[in-house]
């Protein structure tokens, strides 16, 4: 048995250390199971071997893939097999890697599909693809394939009876203890509710629940996942997983900003799909809201402040129509100048025309530090909806920095609400209650946390917990403004308390649903990410890449980064609790490297045994 310290997720290690002998005693003798970053699962019969996703045997007769996530595939690639089987739903990812990465060079901008990009770096075609219900015969065993999407869009489970025990090889569908590897992988469109991928928080939950339902009907003795220990109590774990997932989703719906826009019909459809027939959402009533003041104009996603002297100051310039309207306002004498632009956050519907507007009006652009670098160097980032239009001269507005503009006083804020790369601007002026321009972070119905790829960290020191605190600590009677909504609104103390307490309940639920030592590893796909994400290089050149690591843990950890692809070598970094840092790896582009997109990946190892293979990627366009 391999050391359990190689298991990628910390908490179940303890569980496994307590119970291994019981497990091993009951497992069918023909099954060899060893925990690892991807569990080695091998069935031996009459001198021949079959592996599921990974095997400590370098050569097997048959290899079964449960899904096509990159860390699974790159581990499976190390196993030589005579024949490989995979779900039909995995085919595009196993055979279309070149096309995906070539087009992703441009598709990564203005990106709203919100799918995990852990796509293999190169093709790994299967010999046969399986439809739901198909069977494989191998050495006298019948292997039943069950399509089980949910955690991923693809995904299948192999059901095998060995020595009188029925085993389900589930990949990442469900882990022992009724957990899943992370939350963000579930992000997807909810077609029945006309909710797109960007707004689809855990959007694949209903498909996942259906998949678990299939397994429940099969009287399984063991769930054998590709991460963590074997589940000896399949039905109990499945029921626990379903119950926790539904509680998380119900909690999410109860505080959600989308109620304001979509009303009951769509949100109830979402509820019914996950919670069951006739289940309704129960959000709080809309917060108090009134018309915007005369000095604030709503122009698309732009809010324009107009001073008594006729000068303008804009929050965001997204679409061309917003820019045209600002130009027309100046032409019509409605504003004499545009004195400045504040970018609330890094989404393209708020930033796309900022550079052109700044050039036209010859005005400065301000943004919170966490937003400014995305504006200056959008190609270095991969985040939802980032525009490729750079704003090179963006000025950083520090958290708490103040500025006088005409009869208004501004206080700039870092405000990691709708996305981490987000700011806010508190505006005060005589004769009006303060107005806090909070970008897209709240609506009168609650929290804009529908997109997990926006990095809504659930930490006490940042994310929505920081936003709640800033709203609560803002001056008395402060109004909030969302860039999409032509109203002022504000939460009563009771409403704010409801949002906060609900959020903390969800934090606890996610703790119990995911196996990490800190929930933020399960929420934040980018806890380890390359910077720059994309860059153009020439053959023969050398460059450095950072792997930025967020130690979400409340303990010190040393991280080792191993680069793959044309990048080589390792780097180490030690980080304190909640600290963020970067380890650098060098890339030497061969002089004969062909032009095109090169994908570099990194394996991240943590000093307590967590190992995440080929976890994050960077794109190099070689010219």
């Amino acid at each position: 048995m391999k050391s359990p310290l190689s298991f990628p997720i910390a908490v179940p290690i303890i569980t496994f250390l307590v119970f291994p002998l019981v497990l091993l005693a009951d497992l069918p003798p023909s099954l060899d199971f060893e925990e690892g970053p991807i569990n080695s699962i091998t069935i031996s019969r009459e001198g021949r071997k079959l592996a599921i996703n990974s095997s400590t045997s370098s050569e097997v007769d048959t290899l079964l893939l449960t899904h096509a996530r990159r860390d699974i595939v790159e581990t499976a690639r190390e196993v030589t097999s005579d024949s490989t089987y995979a779900p039909i739903s995995s085919r595009d990812m196993l055979e279309g890697t070149s096309h995906f990465w070539e087009t992703f060079w441009t598709d990564r901008f203005d990106y709203y599909k919100q799918q995990v990009t852990r796509i293999p770096t190169r093709d790994f075609p299967a010999d046969q693809y399986l439809e739901d219900g198909e069977t494989i015969s191998w050495q006298g065993i019948t292997i039943h394939f069950v399509s089980t999407p949910g955690y991923t869009r693809d995904g299948g489970t192999y059901i095998v009876e060995l020595e009188g025990k029925t085993l389900a090889f589930t990949g990442d569908l469900i882990l022992a203890g009724g957990k899943v590897p992370d939350i963000y992988s579930f992000q997807d469109e909810i077609r029945e509710a006309k909710v797109g991928g960007y707004h689809g928080y855990m959007g694949r939950l209903s498909r996942w629940l259906n998949s678990l339902g299939k397994l429940s009907s099969l009287e399984i003795d063991y769930l054998v996942p590709s991460r963590g220990p074997i589940s000896e109590e399949p039905e109990q774990d499945i029921e626990m997983a379903k119950s926790t997932a539904r509680a998380i989703y119900q909690n999410y719906l109860s505080t959600n900003a989308l109620h304001w826009y979509f009303g009951e019909e769509r949100m109830n459809t979402c509820a019914e799909l996950v919670l069951g027939p006739d289940q309704k959402t129960s959000g709080m009533p809309f917060a108090e809201h009134i018309e915007l003041p005369d000095w604030c104009q709503h122009i698309g996603t732009t809010k324009l402040l107009v001073s008594k002297s006729g000068k303008g100051f804009a929050m965001d310039v997204g679409g061309p129509r917003s820019l045209e309207t600002l130009k027309q306002a100046q032409a019509d004498g409605l504003i004499s100048e545009l004195s400045g632009i504040f970018a609330t956050h890094a989404h393209n519907d708020h930033t796309q025309q900022i550079a052109e507007a700044a050039a036209h009006f010859q005005c400065p652009v301000y943004a919170a530090d966490e937003v400014a670098d995305v504006l200056r160097h959008p190609g270095r980032w991969f985040l939802p909806g980032v525009s490729a239009n750079a704003v090179p001269d963006t000025m950083t507005a520090e958290d708490g920095q103040t500025m006088e503009w005409e009869e208004f006083q501004f206080t700039f804020h870092f405000f990691p609400g709708q996305m981490y790369n987000h700011g806010a601007l508190l505006v005060t002026t005589d004769g009006h209650d303060p107005v806090f321009f909070i970008g897209d972070s709240f609506s009168p119905s609650g929290i804009d946390d529908y997109c997990l790829m926006n990095r809504n960290l659930m930490r006490e020191d940042t994310g929505y917990n920081m936003c709640f605190s800033k709203v609560r600590l803002s001056p008395a009677k402060t109004w909030l403004v969302n860039q999409h909504i032509p109203h002022l609104f504000r939460f009563s103390p009771e409403e704010l308390a409801f949002l906060e307490s609900s959020y903390r309940e969800r934090e606890a639920l996610i703790d119990s649903f995911t196996p990490w030592d800190d929930r933020n590893y399960a929420i934040d796909e980018q806890w380890a990410s390359f910077y720059p994400y994309g860059q153009t290089v020439k053959a023969g050149e050398s460059t450095e890449l950072e792997v930025r690591i967020w130690n979400h843990s409340t303990e010190n950890h040393k991280y080792i980064v191993e680069a793959h692809g044309i990048a080589t070598g390792t780097a180490e970094i030690e980080l304190g609790p909640r600290e963020t840092g970067a380890a650098s790896v060098s890339v030497a582009i061969p002089t004969d490297a062909p032009s095109g997109i090169e994908v570099i990946t990194a394996t991240i190892k943590r000093d307590d045994g967590v190992e995440c293979r080929h976890w994050c990627e960077a794109l190099l366009r070689i010219e």
Binding site: H298, R321, H484
Partner: protein
């Protein structure tokens, strides 16, 4: 009194907004200009009508229409027209000025040609246009049963746009004077 109405239906890409967030509302823009007819544009996010064809309802590029067959695309245009007629009423003296007989739907080639000409239109949106005579003093917009809110924007030369944020099954009276 029956008021002369001319309705033109176009599909446009590229303009008022730029992203998935555009689908948060339905949009009506009323353009009041003393020198010409009153123009009312109804904007509907196309991919939401195409989910039965496997289109992500938040799709914002132009690729989604390419995956549809010509028959499907034509039906989508019909669906968009039906949606506008079903969802919006523009009333003057209790008469609905927006009727099926006034609605013109282009052919698919016309639609695709309009993409090239329509830089600046909302990505993925269908836009239907209604022209009203300047003699009308006011109209009432009745927003029907809908699954999202309506943003009603009124523009006049020399003024900032006036914006109304309207919930389903609500109405809003608009003064049409220049």
């Amino acid at each position: 009194m029956r008021v002369p109405v001319l309705t033109v239906f176009l599909i446009c890409f590229g303009a008022m907004g730029t992203s998935a967030h555009d689908s948060l509302y339905n949009y009506i823009e009323v353009r009041i200009n003393p020198d010409s007819e009153i123009r009312i544009d109804f904007s509907v996010h196309g991919p939401e009508l195409a989910i039965t064809y496997g289109v992500d309802p938040l799709t914002t590029d132009t690729s989604w229409l390419d995956v549809l067959s010509p028959d499907q695309a034509e039906k989508l245009l019909d669906d968009a027209g039906s949606f506008i007629l079903k969802t919006f009423q523009v009333c003057s003296a209790d008469e609905n000025l927006l009727t099926a007989s006034d609605l013109f739907l282009p052919t698919l080639p016309e639609v695709k040609e309009s993409w090239k000409m329509s830089e600046g239109a909302r990505p993925g949106s269908f836009v239907g246009t209604l022209l009203l005579p300047t003699s009308l003093e006011n109209v009432t917009f009745q927003y029907g049963k809908a699954d999202k809110r309506l943003m009603l924007v009124v523009t006049r030369p020399g003024s900032f746009p006036k914006v109304y944020d309207i919930g389903a099954e609500q109405s809003q009276k608009i003064d049409l004077s220049p």
